[in-house]
Amino acid sequence: MNTSSRYHAWRKVKNLTMSGLSFTCATLVIAPLGLVLFYLITAGAGAIDWHFFTQLPKPVGETGGGMANAIVGTLTLLGLASLIGVPVGVLGGVYLSEYGGERMNWWIRFGADVLNGVPSIVWGIVAYTLVVVPLKGFSAYAGGVALGFMMIPLIIRTTEEVLLLVPNGYREAALALGIPRWRINLQIVMKTALRGIVTGVLLAGARIAGETAPLLFTAFGNRFWTHHLKDPIAALPLQIFTYAISPYDDWHRQAWAGALVLILMIFLINIGVRALTRERFSGATR
């Protein structure tokens, strides 16, 4: 009797301990985010001013200057990447959701997941071989190709997911009207899921916007404006990297500012997009 009640108390203690432990772990997991944000804001906010957004980087030794070219460069690279990633990814997702057989779909999904796991630096090498070598030089195109390849598996998966949420009744109703399949897919199925597709594309964009490794020997970086996409181009993450490992204090300050701007860009897309989807698909997604 006595041992059993002691055993019971022990079980209770263990239960409480484990609950407390898992709570602590959850706090530890989110702590780094708080720390990073805290330092970004305290160290970066001070360095952000109008010049940061409008000026080119100053040469070593001169203070001031900004990252205007890097911001424009990142947006340019995202645009180029989308030219590859969006059509391929979205249509690939349409294939998975509307056409592919079960076995083929399994392989494509599997392949997309494998591609998602390919280290980003490897995409840099691929784009180097496919674009930099033939064009005989680093270029915005090469950076765009590297990032575009990374977008494809991301967008394929999200597009498939949102298209599968479109109720079959719409497809059937449209088929029963004698509308050809491709028009149904384009103008009814994809249009119904448009918001979800756009969400997936934006999230993929946010994900690759911060990529540095694939740009190191493709886009390469540029201290000046890039006038032609065949030339090297600056990008925010590259600039942050270069400045962070430099020995100059003023550049460190700028690196923090750049990181703050980059993360604000990424978070704004993320938060905005999530607000957008929740309103629409809240019932349909888990």
Partner: protein
Amino acid sequence: MNASLTVTQSKREGAAVKTKESQSLPLTRPATPGGKETTSRGTPVSEVAFEVDSLSCWFGQHQAVQDLSLQIPAKAVTAIIGPSGCGKSTFLRSLNRMHELVRGSRLRGQIRLFGENIYGPRIDPTLIRRRVGMVFQKSNPFPTMSIRENVTVGLRLNGVRNHIALEERMEKALRMAALWEEVNEHLDRPGTSLSGGQQQRLCIARALAVQPDVLLMDEPASALDPIATTKIEELIQELKKDYTIVIVTHNMQQAARCSDYTAFFYMGRLIEYDKTDKVFTNPSNKQTEDYVTGRFG
């Protein structure tokens, strides 16, 4: 003209052997004032819309419809009743080649629509579906489209650009679906903003706008309240003047109220097919009697 439709449960050659008197339908020709001889396009009027000949449908290994033969008269309402899982929806979907869209489905047999084999080798199912419209159990106006766009979608996505003609067709279709008076003030509102019954009539208008010959209805009122149901039933009475209507329903009162002919399906087979009055008041088959009197199902 031979004014009777014959129901056979076996293949065609078996029909000659086995013609029980109770299974032949004393069908009189459905009255079609003004259109008896020719339609506007000059094809001879046939009194039979669908001739179904030893039709079998499968889902994978499961046979949903078993060797079924019957004829569906034009410009009349034919109701298909039976317990759930009896193959009535599958049968309906084979009439506009929707059955084949289901994964793992198979079909054997012949269906002729006004004499033409719709499963013929060179027939485009898309064209069949334009001629045989369908209304589903769950009303499904396209959520991204306004009322106007919903009605005209079948035309627009089939290449019709002429705005005046589209407007004309839209108004006509909405009038036929008895919805025009209720929505003509706000045609640009989303189709999904309407009430359930209105949405279903919008779907009927959408199907009518492509000018089909036949309208298939798969439990069109089962998700609606009694008032909306009455409206749909009244609409069916109106529409049968111009259209061949086949309606699947699990609601026997509904079949009794609004159909001219009733077919009773059980376990994928056609058990009885006759004038609606006859099926409900004096069925010749015991199973039918049990079902219509509510003893099983």
